[in-house]
Amino acid sequence: MLTDTFLLFRQEIMLALLLFFLVLYKLGRARPAAHLLPIMNWLLLLNLVVGLLFYDWQGVLFNGMYRTGELIVLEKNILNLAVWLISMQAYGWLRQHRHAAEVYLLLLTSLLGMFLMLSSGHMLILYVGLEMATIPLAAAVNFALSSKRSSEAAMKMIVSSAFASALLLLGISFLYGITGSLWLAEIPGMLHATPVVLFTFLLVFSGFAFKVSAVPFHLWTADVYEGAPVAVTAYLSVVSKAAMVFVLVTLLYSVFAPLEKTSHAVLVVLSLLTIITGNLFALRQQNIKRFLAFSSIAQIGFILVGISGYSQTANASVIFFLLVYVFSNLAAFGVVGWISTQTGKETIADYANLYRHNKTLSWILAIAVFSLAGVPPTAGFFGKFFLLTAGASKGDYLFISVAALNMVVSFYYYLRIIKAIFMEPGETGIAALSLPFWPQLSLWICTGGMLASGLLGVIYQYIYSISPSH
């Protein structure tokens, strides 16, 4: 019985142990960051492996406050994987940082919050998890301590997210008032599409739309991404976003299932708005992190298109896309981060003629960009294809056409990067950068993932098989 409990809970326990370890490590003798980083990389790998074992355990704990299942385990594993990859990529940045352990503490706490959110069976746990996922991140955004931009970004993030949680909480309080229950499983049975309920739904939905940065709740995203250290940006744009999308899918597909008609319409409108806005802003960006921020907004738009399908396919496609997105975006951030920490160069113009001296980095970045753009044979192509296929299942072809044509716009700005790397005659280009083991490993894993996860049909098939039928 007890082992059962622990095994069901194993991913959270692992994270808690890691956190304990970090606290104890901090208490001990002060050591340079270079000592901690390999240890953390190994430990996070261990964490991932533990998560992967016993994958088929499912059940509920604490009277249903906590629940888990194959899909949730998979989602957590995706997050674990992403964190591991980010940790390896952060090597370049953290090596010189005095507070490396604190960065890990913050990021892992936030991850733990996300796990709670994913497994929550009750609104309370959901809310606690959400805040646990957000507040440490705001602090982490500030971790380039002396940078003006970093602190501005952190301020914007904490203010915006506090405001967003206030609205979310207002929504939850109405939900409580209307249904009298905060159990996720009980709520759907008591919801009817009355104006108050719809308003409540919009409040809750917008709280999560804020986290995934759907338009018009996205405005914080670009500023925060730009100001934060690259590793934190990567975390924000990949891990945090993926977790929020998982939760959003659960909420929309189960808790707010009775409101499908409205929520579908909202999704259609918001997804198009998000894609178009993200594209329009991404077109003009010079700073590559800011550029990636807007491009990730556009990606979220496509994810919303997929969610609007309301089917098993849609569910599986969204999760599959996020897996692919982890690989692609982290590959991009890995390269960008490495160049940023080594040379301080962050604008697209700086990347001119990058290929001349940095062939591997250039190809990886190129593949990542292609995957983000959705070009075969990278997995991004499959991801986008499935998302749009899911979205089209409702038969709204105008919607899909607009989304598909927006892909063309997104091609323009993704190809700008490619153009800079390969075609523009930079005077000399960025000098040859050597890549240490850890970041290199991470980049190769990302590349492998981008190439393999699409071509191997089994991955999608597995995700599909464990997705709830709708």
Partner: protein, 104 residues
């Protein structure tokens, strides 16, 4: 006993929420903005407690939720103030309009 009807309390909480929101939108001082957010959170607390008391007196969900909100708000405030202090160090100001380097 002459009880106050639920609608009055909801009116109060809504008013509080929008006062908070107004404060957030208009004040330039970050600490004041933080306080405005606390107002909004407190209005939600009122909602929870009131719904619990008036509609579902047999349950405790709302009360607990309010307690958690208070706790988390404190944590949030702590982090926020830390960030504001750091912002002051880099910007020499806690006026929100001074921190608009990143835009467009």
């Amino acid at each position: 006993m002459n009880t106050v009807p639920l609608s009055h309390i909801l009116f109060l909480s809504t008013a509080l929420f929008f006062i908070g929101m107004y404060g957030l939108f208009t004040r330039r001082n970050m600490i004041t903005m933080l306080m405005a957010i606390e107002l909004m959170l407190n209005s939600v607390n009122i909602n929870f407690v009131a719904f619990n008391k008036y509609l579902y007196p047999g349950k405790l969900d709302g009360l607990f939720f309010a307690l958690f909100i208070i706790t988390i708000a404190a944590a949030e405030a702590a982090v926020a103030i830390a960030i504001i202090i750091n912002l002051y160090r880099t910007h020499r100001s806690i006026d929100v309009d001074d921190a608009t380097d990143m835009k467009y």
